[in-house]
């Protein structure tokens, strides 16, 4: 059986399930990333501004950065419903676990952005007479956003890569759909290669955007940023 034959038999014939798997992947990654941004911002704020909860924030970040994503997925999916009563669905568990993991990295990224901002920026704004909130909104946040953008976009790529593991807790994502086909027909070459390519294209696109942001922002604004 040639490659093209097999491709037609296993990939093209199953495009339906594969695409719905892709949709689930996109859905899970989107919500997980959004939640991660929110959680990361909150934790970063607590770490920098709320004196008494500083250690809680540090512990949170260290914990979620040190534990593997698979362990977190299983933990959130099987243990949390017993302990906290939520999440009630596997999709919720997948989104939550991915978000928790990324929020640790994002909190650190935001913190590096805040602390890397030169003090003189704020002073120049104060000398001109701007009020505190205006300085934060018009001077500090825009610069921090530009500086952390490449790393944040990279983190989206990481979320997509980690999302491949949610098939383990029975979320019907792209990987799950592919493995199901492989288990049915046991002709893995074409299906798995196609899925690998699909993930590659998606993640490569995201990384390229991050790279573009990195070089573009550096030349245009002269901001020192990290990849």
């Amino acid at each position: 059986m040639t490659f093209v034959d097999n491709f037609n038999r296993f990939v093209l014939a199953n495009l339906g399930p594969l695409f719905s798997g892709l949709w689930v992947t996109v859905y899970v990654c989107f919500w997980a990333f959004l939640l991660a941004l929110l959680l990361g911002a909150v934790v970063c704020f607590v770490r920098l501004r709320v004196r008494y909860l500083k250690f809680v924030a540090i512990a949170y970040v260290e914990f979620f950065r040190a534990t593997p994503i698979l362990v977190q997925l299983l933990w959130v999916n099987y243990v949390w419903p017993e302990l906290f009563g939520f999440p009630r669905t596997v999709i919720g568990a997948g989104i939550l676990a991915l978000a928790l993991q990324s929020s640790g990295y994002l909190a650190e990224t935001f913190r590096a952005g805040f602390e890397g901002l030169p003090k003189g920026q704020r002073e120049a704004a104060e000398a001109v007479g701007m009020s505190r909130w205006r300085i934060i909104w018009r001077i500090e946040l825009p610069q921090i956003a530009l500086v952390v953008a490449p790393m944040v976009i990279n983190q989206l790529a990481v979320v997509v890569k980690s999302s491949t593991l949610v098939s383990v807790i029975a979320i019907a994502d792209l990987m799950y759909a592919g493995l199901k086909i492989v288990n049915q027909w046991y002709e893995p070459i074409e299906v798995l290669t196609t899925i690998a390519l699909a993930y590659f294209v998606l993640i490569f696109a995201i990384s390229s955007i991050a790279n573009y942001a990195y070089t573009h922002f550096q030349t245009k604004f002269g901001l020192v940023t990290q990849r």
């Binding site: 243990v79 017993e82 302990l83 906290f84 009563g85 790529a157 997509v160 890569k161 980690s162 999302s163 491949t164 593991l165 990987m175 493995l179 492989v182 893995p188 070459i189 798995l192 290669t193 899925i195 690998a196 993930y199 590659f200 993640i203 490569f204 990384s207």
Partner: protein
């Protein structure tokens, strides 16, 4: 919630299943060590390949790195375990099977070699090019001396070789004076050093002069000062 916690957190379970858990841990550790070694070896090869001269090799190396960094590790693992044996069996004609442990080591090693290659490449690129220049200069001088040390050459001693150190000293001096002459601020030694270090030719000559000195070959008027300058540039 607390009652559920007390129900769930039964530490005696850990003790009961200690053998199984420890076996699993040993598996994890062995896979980790083996794949780490594989990743470092592969990364070194790829990073060095990217420094080479052949454009094709550089292209392949970059392609490999991008492939490894942009494919999810889980997908790579599954692919190595399921697809690779089939491809190899089709090539060698007979049935080929991959032990799960080996598949894991290969999959993880390849996956992380991409990241490591990037790190190594950044590290290699951050080494100042002047250092390589100085090394070549010293290498040049060594080869040159080796040639003239040859018994056949000593019959007709090369006077130019003895003039070399003094000439180097003058050239080094010229560079520093040229910089001063441009009217640059010389606020501190650090700035001057930085400027000197940025000039590869100066680096090269300083390296060569120091090598001469090591061989006991650099005695000429003004040698001390020239050597001091050369040391400042190269360190």
């Amino acid at each position: 919630m607390l009652s559920a916690l007390r129900q769930m957190l039964d530490p005696s379970l850990f003790w009961e299943y200690r053998v199984v858990l420890l076996q699993g841990l040993v598996q994890n550790l062995s896979i980790f060590v083996e794949s780490a070694i594989l990743a470092m070896v592969a990364a070194t090869i790829v990073a060095v390949a990217q420094l080479g001269r052949s454009r094709v090799i550089k292209w392949i190396a970059t392609g490999y790195t991008e492939l490894c960094r942009n494919t999810p590790e889980y997908v790579l693992l599954v692919w190595v375990y399921f697809v690779l044996p089939l491809i190899i069996s089709k090539m060698i004609g007979s049935r080929f099977r991959l032990d799960p442990h080996v598949a894991a080591v290969i999959g993880l090693g390849v996956a992380y070699s991409g990241f490591m290659a990037e790190t190594l490449r950044a590290g290699l690129r951050s080494i100042h090019p002047g250092q390589a220049e100085a090394a070549t200069a010293i290498g040049d001088v060594v080869l040159q001396d080796a040639a003239t040390d040859h018994p056949a050459a000593s019959a007709a001693p090369n006077p130019a070789r003895h003039r070399q150190p003094a000439r180097l000293a003058v050239q080094i001096d010229h560079h520093r004076i040229a910089d001063h002459g441009a009217g640059h601020h010389v606020p501190g030694l650090d700035d001057q050093r930085r400027r000197d270090a940025a000039d590869p030719a100066l680096y090269r000559r300083s390296g060569a002069l120091l090598h001469r000195h090591h061989r006991g070959d650099a005695s000429f008027p003004g040698a001390d000062r020239a050597l001091a300058q050369a040391r400042l540039v190269v360190t």
